[in-house]
């Protein structure tokens, strides 16, 4: 199976999911291409396009939280960072993703 064709298919499906959530693919096209390629490899191995920057555990319920696009499961963090963990998706208003900060996965402090 052709990696490029699968990347295009994932791009097609992901765009439909993230757009109503207020996200888009990062303008950093090199990062997008690399991340999608890693997801294709993960999908070939596990049958699921997991987030390429998160550890796959033995727990199915935990693994389901890192199936790309994982925005709904980590909405609070992503909205605060205006990006997802790996940077594949950013808020629609982001034009320069290099200026965005990353927060650790621990619960965010309020206030």
């Amino acid at each position: 199976m052709n990696v490029q064709a699968r990347k295009e298919a994932l791009r097609y499906f992901f765009r439909k999911v993230v757009d109503p959530l207020g996200y888009k693919f990062s303008p950093d096209t090199e990062l997008v291409e690399f991340s999608l390629e890693q997801e294709v490899a993960l999908e070939r191995k596990y049958g699921v396009p997991y987030c390429p920057c998160k550890r796959i555990s033995g727990s199915r319920s935990e693994n389901m939280k890192i199936v790309c696009p994982c925005i709904p499961y980590h909405r609070e963090h992503f909205d605060a960072m205006k990006r997802c963990w790996c940077g594949l998706f950013v808020h629609k208003d982001v034009t320069d993703p290099s200026k965005l900060k990353q927060f650790p996965a621990q619960p965010l402090k309020k206030g």
Partner: protein, 108 residues
């Protein structure tokens, strides 16, 4: 030789129709009012793809979710979970043309 298989009004945009012509089992797909025809049996374990889901140009098998590009028949992904014992190959695709609202498929 092109043979008539359906009328355009029978398949709405995003829809599919299963047809048999001789020993060929075919599914006709309407993607943005352009018609495509591919082999109907999934190349993984032979499920009827017309019972699956057509989303844009991507046809998903109802049995194990293998996906195919209806424009070329190309396999985009294999079954879930992965099944190395039964590799998923490309589907046979057929040339299609429309004449006077009739969809014709080339059977060689």
């Amino acid at each position: 030789m092109f043979v008539p298989v359906a009328q355009t009004r029978e398949i709405a945009s995003g829809g599919m129709k299963a047809v048999d012509r001789g020993d060929r089992k075919i599914v006709i797909c309407n993607f943005n009012d352009t018609f495509y025809a591919v082999e109907r049996q999934c190349s993984h374990q032979g499920a009827s793809l017309d019972m699956g889901t057509l989303d844009g140009y991507i046809l998903t098998c109802p049995l194990h979710y293998a996906q195919f590009d209806i424009r070329t028949g190309e396999a985009l992904s294999g079954p879930v979970p992965p099944d190395p014992r039964h590799p998923t190959g490309d589907l046979c695709s057929y040339a299609v043309k429309v004449e006077n609202d009739t969809i014709l498929v080339e059977i060689k």
